[in-house]
């Protein structure tokens, strides 16, 4: 008798939408098998199957198998259409499909075994299983691994003045055939009126783990969104381990697509896998899980939530253009990871981009003085194109050299600050101009005072109006 494989093994390789019918089919098969054992124990000609109660498990399991098989078929067609529109999703969907086919093969084996002794249907089922397994393995090991869709700003290796061919007489897109009468479908910019005003609804993802805000006990974290927007609109993510020895602060790039979940995923990965140094190969491995999870989150959680919300307020579902662009451009984020060793009073930090770590130590009179900052040490070093970790599978090998590492020892009474770019730049220019407005930060406990300070400095133009996050770690 064919045994249904444990459905949970499919979790890593298949798509959740398909996992549901797969799971149901597996349960149906299990029920069918169980029913057969219950209703026809060893002798095959007992009349138990004639009674209603004996018949029931059979009928029920058949119904489940049929319904779920129909649903699996429907899901397959739906996902197939999605794969057609989104080639990037195709390998995952094909994997799921072949796995589903494998299970359907198993069912037909199971069913043919119980109902009739037909050799044909049994061998057909086995054939289907084998084919599906071959397909599954082929996609997994021989299938595409990386999408080619990013256009670099200019050819690699191009340096010096404007590349001569960059501004050709007309470097824009040209129509394949230009039809001056082509009018398209007229769609006036009518202001659509949603049934419900979305601003009256609670913001989405407030309870999503990828949007969670840490509540450390010893350390303190403060955050202000650009333009004093809702905290959910922040692109900064801070992740702190429960014992407050691992810290990560990542500043999602506002110009990229959905950077907040990506920033959180990077922070979580630091907690799981901190590193002393990193080379290109290890970095590729390190990024693999966050990248997979980000793509899964976009496809399964984000799209679903947006569609649900849009349906509620009477808007159109998420446009295919936006969905495609989100996956194509991907998210980017800076990264600053900090690791404290409380046994020998040492710390280790890894950083890429312009999120900075500051160390303050008291002098003889007890006043805290900045000792150094890492990885940037001057306010002139900031730009809006820092090196970033990206969610899309571009060339990781060239990113690894932009990582910076630093280690050191702390003394009791030292204070570590982690700050995203706007605040870090402001702090550095404060030090450079010998100003002392910063000195409330190391002992800051009240979020309102943080908000006041940031607000005031933004108003006066000293601080860039950007998402601003501060983590204070007293030692």
């Amino acid at each position: 008798m064919a045994q249904p494989p444990a459905a949970s093994t499919s979790g890593n390789t298949t798509n959740v939408a398909l996992n549901v019918p797969i799971l149901c089919v597996a349960i149906g098969v299990a029920l069918a098998v169980a029913a057969e054992h219950l209703t026809s124990p060893p002798a095959s000609s007992t009349p138990a199957t004639n009674s209603f109660f004996g018949q029931f498990p059979h009928v029920a399991s058949f119904a489940i198998v049929l319904i779920t098989a129909a649903y699996a078929l429907f899901e397959l067609i739906r996902q197939g259409r999605m794969a057609w529109q989104q080639p990037a999703l195709a390998p995952g969907i094909c994997r799921s499909a072949s796995f589903a086919a494998f299970l359907l093969g198993l069912i037909s084996v199971a069913v043919s075994d119980t109902r009739s002794q037909s050799l044909l249907s049994t061998s057909l089922g086995i054939g289907l299983c084998v084919l599906a397994l071959i397909g599954f393995l082929a996609i997994t090991f021989l299938g595409p691994t990386e999408m080619v869709n990013q256009k670099p700003m200019h050819d690699p290796g191009q340096v010096g003045p404007y590349p001569a061919d960059y501004f050709r007489p007309y470097s824009g897109s040209l129509p394949v055939t230009y039809d001056p009468d082509m009018s398209g479908v007229e769609a006036p910019l009518a202001q659509r009126k949603p049934r419900i005003d979305p601003s009256t609804l609670p913001p989405l993802f407030e309870t999503d783990p990828l949007y969670s805000i840490p509540r450390p006990k010893v350390a303190r974290s403060f955050s202000m969104v650009k333009g004093n927007d809702n905290p959910i609109a922040s692109d900064d993510a801070c992740v702190i381990s429960d014992d407050e020895t691992y810290f990560a602060l990542c500043d999602g790039a506002s110009g990229s697509s959905l950077p907040r979940p990506w920033a959180t995923l990077l922070g979580q990965q630091w907690l799981k896998w901190p590193f002393q140094e990193i080379d290109a190969e290890t970095l590729a491995l390190w990024l693999q899980e966050p990248r997979e999870r980000w793509h899964r989150w976009i496809q399964e959680t984000w799209k679903w939530k947006i569609d649900e919300r849009n349906q509620l307020i009477g808007e159109k579902p998420l446009s295919a253009d936006v969905f495609r662009r989100t996956l194509q451009t991907g998210a980017s984020s800076t990264f600053l990871g900090l690791l404290l060793n409380r046994e020998n009073n040492s710390w280790h930090a890894a950083a890429i981009g312009d999120t900075c770590l500051f160390i303050f130590r008291g002098d003889r009179s007890g006043t805290l003085r900045p000792r150094f900052s890492f990885p940037l040490d001057s306010s002139a070093g900031f730009s809006d194109r820092p090196p970033l970790l990206t969610s899309n599978g571009n060339n990781v090998s060239t990113l690894a050299p932009y990582f910076r590492f630093k280690s050191g020892h702390w003394r009791r009474g030292d204070v570590l600050l982690m700050a995203t770019d706007a605040l870090a730049q402001w702090l550095l220019s404060q030090f450079e101009q010998q100003q002392t407005t910063w000195n409330i930060l190391p002992s800051l406990t009240d979020p309102r005072r943080f908000a006041e300070l940031v607000e005031k400095e933004r108003q006066s133009g000293h601080m860039v109006d950007d998402d601003t996050t501060l983590v204070v770690i007293p030692l």
């Binding site: 700003m153 007309y170 394949v176 790039a253 194109r385």
Partner: protein
């Protein structure tokens, strides 16, 4: 007229609180029917201008981040397209020429058409031409006998003024940008150079309004971007009429602000000359959009 320390201006990014305004002016006069040979196909000058304009809109849309809460574009800027020939006509829709929000615009193109775009193929390691369906908003027309460029600029002036007054927060935004796409021939009423000057005199707290020009001609043998002085134009443009128009458009154009020049440098590893003007001759103006502040973004420089 307000004055600024140069390093204090043009520093703002567009965001929901400090939205921006883009006005595109499109020459639709009969002179835009001049043929242009590109590759083995023939287009007219006006077709090229219309394409450039659609590309500009696509470029703005591609630069506007997606709002994770709504799944639509973030409401960062308003856009208005004015066509000019015998008269000045708003081209985007029938809302009497009020600027449209980029997020509404992105969702309502008048159609899509196949276009050839160049993409970098990582496998082949070179640029390849790919056919793509691209949305468009503007259709090509070039049937007027007049070119009322000065009127178009005056209209843009009023739009900018009204837009700034509509909401006090807009005073703190990056200043509005006007991009004029034309073959340069003006035969309407008024003086476009004066009209251009008055637009450039408008300002927000972050700087004066920027006016950039995109000069498209049927003389496609030479092209020029962001020149510093008119002499460069004289050297590069052989046709006497075109040279005069080009110099006029150059005079009308604003200098590229230092912050935009810095971004150009970071994008291309190349600097713009000091005092470079936002004047483009026979080239694609979509790059100008990339030089605006769109927030932190990955630079391809780090992935080479």
């Amino acid at each position: 007229m307000a004055t600024w320390e140069p390093e204090d201006s043009y520093r703002k990014s567009w965001n929901r609180q400090h939205r921006g305004l883009l006005i595109f002016l499109l020459d639709q006069s009969g002179s835009m029917r001049q043929p242009v040979q590109i590759g083995n196909r023939q287009y007219t000058n006006g077709e090229m201008a219309t394409l450039a304009l659609n590309d500009l809109i696509v470029s703005v849309i591609n630069n506007t981040p997606i709002d994770s809460q709504t799944g639509r574009l973030k409401d960062y800027c308003d856009l208005l397209v004015l066509g000019y020939g015998n008269q000045v006509t708003p081209l985007l829709d029938n809302r009497q020429g009020a600027p449209a929000s980029i997020k509404d615009l992105a969702e309502n193109p008048i159609g899509r058409r196949p276009v050839l775009v160049e993409k970098y193929d990582r496998v082949q390691g070179k640029k390849v031409q790919v056919q793509e369906m691209q949305p468009f908003w503007i259709n090509y027309t070039a049937d007027s006998t007049k070119t009322e460029m000065a009127k178009a600029l005056q209209r843009a002036y009023r739009v900018v003024q009204d837009w700034l007054q509509a909401d006090l927060r807009r005073r703190q935004s990056f200043p509005p940008i006007v991009i004029n796409i034309t073959d340069g021939a003006h035969n309407g009423e008024g003086d476009p150079i004066e009209a251009a000057k008055s637009i450039r005199r408008l300002y927000t707290d972050d700087g004066h309004v920027l006016l950039f020009s995109c000069h498209l001609t049927s003389n496609s043998t030479s092209h020029l971007v962001f020149p510093r002085d008119a002499q460069v134009i004289s050297r590069n443009v052989s046709n006497a009429d075109e040279r005069e128009w080009a110099v006029n458009l150059f005079e009308m154009s604003s200098e590229i602000p230092a912050t935009m020049a810095k971004r150009a440098r970071e994008s291309f590893n190349a600097g713009l000359p000091d005092g470079a003007r936002g004047f483009i001759y026979n080239a694609n103006p979509a790059d100008l959009i990339d030089f605006l502040s769109w927030g932190t973004r990955p630079s391809q420089n780090f992935e080479r």
